[in-house]
């Protein structure tokens, strides 16, 4: 539902808060970096851009890992092990509560009042 494209940060606007210039295959555009306030990108970092805003930093390590897994797909026995291990590290300990959609969305609002 949302078109987002990787671009490389080539410039951080001096004096202007949370604005940078990204390069997508030689096309440059000013983007807002405010959504990455928790982990501001530096020049040379790759970010995912949607409607002129950087949404997320792109992790080179994760991309490399993914390519590795993909290249293993043909070698069946090994690939079985690899892919089974993939994606499990982070949620090996699932949260206790089942998050229902309403609760989750409301959670967004709640956080604001808490802050």
């Amino acid at each position: 539902m949302c078109l987002a494209i990787p671009g490389r940060v080539v410039e951080l606007a001096a004096g202007q808060n949370q604005v940078g210039v990204v390069d997508v295959a030689g096309v440059r555009r000013k983007v807002q970096l405010g959504l990455l306030a928790d982990d501001m990108p530096e020049t040379g970092d790759w970010v995912l851009i949607h409607v002129g805003f950087a949404m997320s930093k792109i992790s080179e390590a994760q991309a490399t890992e993914q390519m590795h897994l993909l290249s293993m797909l043909g070698e069946r026995e090994l690939a079985m092990e690899e892919v089974r291990g993939y994606g499990q590290d982070e949620h090996a300990t699932p949260t206790a509560a089942t998050v229902t959609p309403a609760v989750n969305s409301a959670g967004i609002s709640k956080r604001a009042t808490e802050n």
């Binding site: 949607h50 949404m55 792109i58």
Partner: protein
């Protein structure tokens, strides 16, 4: 293009496709829903259906914000903007979408100041540059896009730009998935989760799908290899009888989402009690409106809104297609009364709507297959 081309590598695509063929049990029929319209678009654009085995059916989900927007909202937005001295700013996606009284482009032809923007920030910039005009930004999108609108609202308030407002149509994806799963005639084996929405909300909000509905979810990227790898991951879960949430798109999706983005949304927006979805009807707590403290920048509070209601013709079977009960071409109107040039139903409206995508990329191909199978 880095982070794009390597995920379109033909050799690896062949490998992944072979792996899918190996994993798919020929005795089984798989029904996998890709929630996001961007995935639908990618599947057709890259021709991925051609390389998947026939017993894997991809069902196109509700994740197209243009398609699910009730027609009356377009009329409402345009009715505000058509007063003199106002600018109607919207994404290109909206420009050809018909309201009951015509599309934004048709309004432009009648003299309304309609402009395409690439970013909500550009709409705000338009307001800065045109202090004698009122700019109304027609905001659409799921949680991917809402934070950008939110930051723009915050900037407007901080700079006190008074001639800018947002007509907010942002919707949230989880209630729509729930509405689909609640449908009695629904039968799905798993979900390809919306990767770009997940950069904001993370992967946790899908956990109920795995836990209480018992369906695997794999949050996926948008390149061919992302989608194929996600299907591999889903098939592996199904093969071993598991149902969990996995993250295929780790290079951009943090498991916990984007805190700054969620905070910006929470600062500026709140849930509406209910909102109408074209094709799905009213869904409670499924959309966002602008908070009262931003009321000056909320077009709905600032201007009178006619609250136009337009019902789709009964013959359009958008709901069934949205829920995956019918394939696009099985709808009675598909390709006859309802085409991309003259859309009648929601899903024909946007290029990433499943009917339009099917029509543009598959329709005539499928005609050939039908001819061939008759012969």
């Amino acid at each position: 293009m880095r982070y794009v081309d390597e995920f379109r590598d033909p050799e690896l695509i062949t490998k992944a496709a072979e792996e899918i063929r190996r994993l798919a049990d020929p005795a089984r029929h798989y029904r996998i829903m890709e929630v996001c319209g961007g995935h639908t678009h990618a599947i057709y654009r890259f021709g991925l259906k051609d390389i998947l085995p026939e017993n894997i059916d991809l069902i196109h989900g509700p994740g197209c914000p243009v398609c699910v927007l009730p027609m009356g909202r377009i009329d409402d937005g345009l009715s505000i903007a058509k007063e003199s001295n106002r600018i109607f700013a919207a994404f290109g996606d909206m420009m050809r979408v018909p309201g009951a009284h015509g599309s934004p482009l048709e309004h432009k032809a009648r003299g309304v100041d309609v402009r395409i923007v690439y970013s909500p920030a550009d709409a705000l910039q338009m307001a800065r540059k045109n202090p004698d005009k009122e700019v109304i930004f027609f905001a659409i999108g799921f949680e991917t896009t809402a934070p950008s609108t939110a930051l723009t609202l915050m900037a407007a308030k901080a700079e006190d730009i008074r001639n800018f407002s947002v007509f907010c149509n942002h919707v949230t994806i989880i209630p729509a998935i729930r509405a689909i799963l609640d449908s009695p005639d629904m039968r799905l084996d798993g979900f390809i989760g919306p990767g770009h929405v997940s950069t904001v909300i993370g992967c946790r909000p899908y956990e109920w799908i795995a836990k209480t509905e018992g369906k695997p979810v794999v949050t996926s990227g948008f390149e061919p290899l992302d989608l194929l790898q996600s299907i591999v991951m889903l098939l592996r879960q199904l093969e071993s009888g598991q149902a969990k949430v996995e993250n295929q798109y780790k290079r951009v999706v943090p498991w916990e989402g984007n805190r700054a983005a969620l905070q910006a949304m929470a600062e500026t927006m709140e849930l509406r009690p209910y909102f109408e979805w074209r094709g799905l009807g009213f869904i409670s707590q499924s959309a966002l409106r602008i908070r009262e403290k931003y009321s000056h920048w909320d077009a709905e509070r600032r201007y009178p809104v006619p609250e136009t209601r337009v019902t789709d013709p009964k013959s359009a079977q958008c709901g069934e297609v949205l829920k995956g009960v019918l394939k696009p071409h099985q709808c009675k109107l598909f390709g006859k009364e309802c085409t991309p040039e003259h859309p009648i139903g929601a899903l024909m409206v946007s290029a990433e709507g499943s009917c339009a995508a099917y029509y543009n990329y598959e329709h005539r191909k499928s005609l050939v297959t039908e001819i061939a199978s008759v012969a």
